[in-house]
Symmetry: C2
Subunit: 406 residues, 2 copies
């Protein structure tokens, strides 16, 4: 497969055979995920309808019930949210190749075997979060478009592969290189036609490794296993600290550019805008880093609690910077008048969440639990957040209604 | 003076005679502003030490006592904050020329007389706010650098001049034009040496006029008078809805570019960053639009109030978008448990603040007043905001400690 040193993002206007098959599987029958075929297609440690709540079938989008998230620091793959914009390509590990082109001295075209043999293996734990996590809370101001995520579009995994920095150094960057573009092998429909999903990150991010935490990883493993199809088999990027959209799946092409990628999901989507206006988009950078966040996972909304106290569990995430640590997570049972400090359950790992737990006094006047967090670089979860069209980056106080026995 | 169709931002490493004189005036004597000379230098309707609180003398930076701001919808020039990064050039109205170059069919070089004779005069009212307004509140998390502004680095003025869109249409834009750079005639010291203060705005903003509100104005009048020296005499830009830093004073050069200006105040400063890191800066766009904001101007901090109720006055500002209006301003006297709705005192004008007033019940347990606001595009003032190195865009609940007679 010859390398194509072109800056054009390739487009595919055909719905290919694989996509047709995926659509047929993910059809309109309510049994679609209960079939043995569905479980097979998703791999062994992967979610089916018993493990995730699916908001959409095509594209496939699902999140775990919140209650399972505090069980483990590293989220089992079957409980890891699945976020797709198009089809799930059925790619072959043997035949897959990764092209690297653009502002590099020589273009390359690697098989997975070549990647693993020529570069040092690297593993890291990093939390991935969809920019749309908690999207549905934005609706309190005005309805937002997109998958109506609750607070489960987040997960923490171990990722295995090679450092993007090593790969880029090997290819020798040219003058002017400043952004790294990623392109997947899926087919997505955008306002400007069919394309592949794409993302990009500043070159500085790609080249800035912090000990165990790489600036970015070109990964083929998740939780010690080869990537499952819906998590990007055979190859994806993982960008610790950045929104999930920058961790492009089914990675087929890396282009080193002198500006952010022109792909729809960089140029237009994944920006904080209040209207679909060229001007408002021009004012906004692509979203890269994720902000401080927090969620209550237990008790479930509308759960009954005994008068006295309730055990509250959840997760909190510091700002996506290597030196950001959680400083404080707090829970309130009376609308924010008094706050109870939660215990962090996990040791600090850069770019990772910590689970937390608090015993909170409640009375028969308690109607809801609130959670908030601050980190060591000044990140906060405010009481309310500014609304945006696509409902990105909701990180206000998490609010869970509860009932207390009288 | 020949037009120089160059993209280089001119630098001046010499401290020129004007700057020397300004420094001599703004010297170390405590009497410097009380002298008749100081008042003369500032023009007739301009602030002296009786009207503004000066945080710095060189560069000159001052804000009004908060209590004067609710007096009028249009802020008198003498109570309008003064924000400088370098000297205050002493420019001559007759001799001043404005160069326009870059991605235009023909470069131009206009006198003020040519601008006023060849283009339609335009007036608008617009609120200007320093991105550092309320900066000192960021210190509660960690000290921030820069002028320690209270909530007075904001003002509302009538501006007179011509629409930037008319000027740019006259010059006929070339293919690729996408940002408009402004350069002043002041001399500022930056980490990379002496330069002129500069700003830039997306071309779409420059070309998008909304009735009375231009995308941007090339202005020579403020509140019906020629600009005073410290507000940019003889010529400045005014960009409604954007932070004050984009409204460049002593405007001498407009360059149409294919990207944001490389000037220090676009490329590096005026970004929301948590550290002085190239990577973190690369993730951030220049700040353009201002967010929803609110402040209590009366009573003053630590004022005594009678048990019963207190009249609270202040200003609130919707997001800097033409269709954003204030939806609600609220005041709390008990830490945010109950909120009293304030009355807006001004009719809605796009890109302008409104003053507000509320009668708020207080008791001997009241220790502080809080204010918050929401607008119609989803802008909110949250309880807390994420910290940033330079303390920009503080817009959390405004908190004023008060004492109530027992």
């Amino acid at each position: 497969m010859p390398s194509t040193p072109s800056f054009n993002v390739s487009r595919n206007r055909q719905i290919d055979r694989r996509r047709f098959l995926a659509s047929a599987v993910a059809g309109s029958t309510g049994l679609w995920l209960a079939s043995p075929f569905a479980r097979l297609a998703f791999g062994q440690d992967t979610a089916d309808h018993r493990d995730l709540i699916f908001h959409q079938k095509d594209p496939l989008n699902g999140e775990p019930p919140l209650g399972v998230l505090p069980s483990e620091f590293v989220t089992p793959t079957k409980h890891f949210y699945i976020r797709n914009h198009g089809n799930i390509p059925d790619l072959d590990r043997q035949g897959h190749r990764l092209k690297i082109e653009g502002l590099v001295e020589a273009s390359h075209d690697f098989s997975l075997q070549e990647l693993s043999e020529n570069f040092e293996k690297s593993d890291c734990v990093a939390t991935m979060t969809c920019a749309g996590n908690r999207r549905r809370e934005h609706n309190a101001f005005k309805p937002v478009s997109g998958v109506q995520w609750d607070a489960g579009a987040i997960g923490n995994a171990t990722w295995g592969g090679i450092k993007l920095s090593d790969l880029l150094k090997h290819c020798r960057l040219k003058e002017g290189a400043s952004h790294v573009w990623f392109e997947g092998a899926d087919d997505v429909s955008t306002p400007s036609g069919m394309t592949h999903f794409g993302g990009s990150i500043p070159l500085d991010k790609a080249m800035t490794d912090h000990g165990q935490a790489p600036g970015a990883l070109v990964a083929w493993e998740m939780n010690g296993q080869p990537l499952t199809p819906e998590h990007g088999r055979p190859l994806r990027t993982v960008v610790p600290g950045y929104i999930g959209a920058r961790s492009v799946k089914w990675l087929s092409r890396i282009i080193v550019g002198d500006r952010p990628s022109p792909n729809h999901y960089v140029r237009s989507a994944y920006k904080l805008v209040t209207a679909e206006s060229d001007l408002i988009k021009a004012e906004q950078n692509p979203i890269y880093r994720f902000p401080t966040n927090v969620a209550i996972c237990e008790p479930a909304p509308e759960a009954m609690a005994a008068n006295g106290s309730v055990t509250v569990r959840g997760y909190a995430l510091p700002t996506g910077l290597p030196d950001a640590r959680l400083r404080e997570v707090e829970v309130s049972a009376n609308g924010g008048r008094r706050w109870v400090k939660a215990r962090l359950l996990d040791e600090h790992v850069p770019f990772c969440w910590s689970r937390w737990e608090a015993n909170v006094p409640v009375t028969d006047r308690t109607t809801a639990l609130l959670a908030r967090a601050v980190d060591t670089v000044g990140g906060v979860t405010p009481d309310r957040v500014t609304w945006n069209t696509h409902g990105y980056l909701y990180n206000g106080w998490h609010h869970v209604p509860v009932k207390v026995a009288g």
